[in-house]
């Protein structure tokens, strides 16, 4: 009969076309970048790259995935990638969540690593959208010369490509680099290249094929101190009686050019503009408002060279290490402070309590190589769970503190390679019955009662041998 034959044929056609669309889903050929502008900020030791991409869908299928490519050497130092899309006429920016996925494409040339940006609305054929991508690199400035004396300034190498590495065809691209000072020893010239003051311009380059790469090397002066916290352990102890106690243990190192030769304190203090220009003199820590009992000490004792300025919106702690840090020098210290509980502990809708606190180092403009955050929950807390906006390694521990019988549950979270952008809030949820708060005073009362019973026993028991 006619109808069933037509039905099977129609079915076969739809199946084939579906397969055809699925096979053709690799976005590399469909998308086209009409304009790309990259601004690289080299003023501090964290390299910030702002990439503005105007992506056009030149294919026939709508896509909602855009790939970003990175050379394998840069991916190890990548701390964070963020993407924003400009929507509407009033330039309202919404953050499109970025998935960190090393997409293993089978035809990735030279081990290129990818990150996928998932758009909230799929990009239809013929449409174009503007994306703003921000990514940060740590440990990407290599000091050269690797060792400097006290009176020399710090020069570093920065290695990148004049052409933006992308799996798509780029019609027009320009790269701007901003150095901290006008002193640039040398730079690779890839025509057209211009240099004016502290800004260098590579481009515009027209019509480059996908995966085009042109390595450049810039040797410039960067006298900003390179504070690197090798290890940071933050412990947040929650007490339901009204206080949050934070203890942070730092291992700080100056990550710039290593210091060689002698350190002359006389020269250092008499001519600070010539001697130790790149030394680490002080650090600024941003703490929440209403902080109390702040201390700054190390293994020797209290370090008095610190200033605390409080405000209604934030508190700033300015700390100076015991000695200025030159390249390769280390310092270890402990910073502790207390916070009121009602600013951070809340009740959620399903009868659980949660702690809302910032994950990350409070020191401004520092790179943390390894961060461990420990949240100590009060005794009697059950079902702890942590909600963190990025991937961390979690496990549970037990800690014995004041008036503890069974021990306190500790939620431990670890992360590597953090930058100040990671100072975002995280939550730790747990259940707690308020009646457990009575356990502590009743424990003390029973200890005193034991004393009274012992007195009674002594007075009532007759220990005389003879009547």
């Amino acid at each position: 009969m006619e109808a069933p034959i037509r039905a099977t044929e129609f079915l076969r056609f739809t199946l084939l076309s579906l397969l055809f669309f699925v096979c053709r889903s690799s976005p590399s050929q469909d998308l086209l970048i009409s304009n790309a502008e990259r601004r690289i900020d080299l003023t501090s030791h964290i390299v910030k790259v702002y990439l503005t991409l105007k992506v056009e869908n030149a294919g026939s299928t709508p896509t909602s995935e855009i790939l970003l490519a990175f050379p394998p050497t840069q991916v190890d130092h990548l701390a964070t990638v963020e993407a924003l899309v400009t929507k509407g006429k009033r330039k309202k920016t919404t953050l499109a969540r970025l998935d960190v996925k090393p997409t293993e494409l089978p035809d990735a040339p030279n081990g290129t690593k990818y990150f996928t940006i998932y758009l909230s609305n799929p990009l239809n054929s013929g449409e174009s959208t503007t994306l703003e991508v921000l990514y940060l690199f740590t440990h990407s400035l290599e000091p050269f010369p690797a060792e400097i004396g006290q009176s020399e300034s710090q020069l570093v190498y920065y290695r990148d490509s004049a052409l933006i590495l992308s799996p798509y065809h780029i019609k027009q691209q320009t790269t701007f680099l901003k150095t901290p000072s006008t002193k640039v020893e040398s730079f690779t010239s890839v025509e057209p290249t211009n240099r004016a003051g502290t800004e260098m311009k590579y481009g515009p380059y027209e019509d480059r094929p996908p995966y085009s790469f042109s390595p450049i090397l810039i040797h410039f002066e960067n006298n900003s101190p390179f504070p690197v916290v090798e290890e940071l352990v933050r412990e947040v102890e929650i007490s339901h009686w009204g206080n949050l106690q934070v203890t942070e243990q730092y291992t700080l190192v100056h990550g710039g050019a290593r210091h060689k030769g002698v350190f002359s304190r006389v020269d250092y203090q008499s001519r600070p503009n010539l001697n130790g220009v790149s030394s680490l003199r002080y650090l600024l820590a941003r703490l929440p408002p209403r902080v109390h009992s702040v201390y700054y000490r190390d293994e020797i004792g209290n370090i008095s060279s610190s200033h605390l300025r409080t405000d209604s919106r934030k508190s700033e702690l300015e700390i100076e290490p015991r000695y200025p840090l030159f390249g390769g020098w280390k310092a270890t210290f402990v910073i502790g402070y207390g916070l009121p509980l009602q600013d951070f502990l809340f009740e959620s809708s399903d009868d659980r309590r949660y702690l809302n606190f910032t994950f990350g180092c409070p020191l401004l403009d520092t790179v943390v190589d390894k961060l461990t955050v420990k949240v100590v929950l009060p005794e009697g807390s059950k079902d702890p769970s942590a909600v963190v906006p990025f991937t961390v390694e979690q496990h549970l521990e037990t800690k014995y503190s004041y008036l503890d019988v069974v021990g306190r549950t500790v939620v431990v979270m670890e992360k590597k390679n953090l930058v100040p952008v990671h100072n975002s809030p995280f939550q730790v949820y747990y259940t707690f019955k308020p009646i457990f708060m009575l356990a502590e005073p009743l424990m003390l009362a029973s200890a005193f009662f034991l004393f009274f019973v012992a007195c009674l026993a002594y007075l009532h028991i007759d220990l005389s041998i003879r009547k």
Binding site: S239, N243, G338, E440, L444, F452, L459
Partner: protein, 78 residues
């Protein structure tokens, strides 16, 4: 937007900690004194175990809470 989350505070306000510590310890010590005075002044026949235990029990409760508030007012948030 979800309604603003309700912050959790201590069942007893912070400002009361030193006052509560002093009063509870004072009452506890007065009861302890009365316990020992009873022991010293009564003779073996007149003693009542129930009275001793109640005085000791109430004194220990007041002393326990007083010590807790003393620790909290000193900054040791247990």
């Amino acid at each position: 937007m979800a309604p603003p989350a309700k912050p959790i505070t201590s069942p007893v306000s912070d400002a009361w900690y030193p006052t509560l510590a002093v009063f509870m310890l004072a009452i506890g010590l007065v009861l302890t004194a009365s316990f020992f005075i009873y022991e010293a002044t009564s003779s073996k026949r007149n003693r009542s175990l129930a009275k001793e235990l109640t005085t000791g029990g109430v004194a220990s409760v007041f002393l326990g809470f007083g010590t807790l508030f003393l620790l909290l007012s000193a900054g040791v948030y247990v």
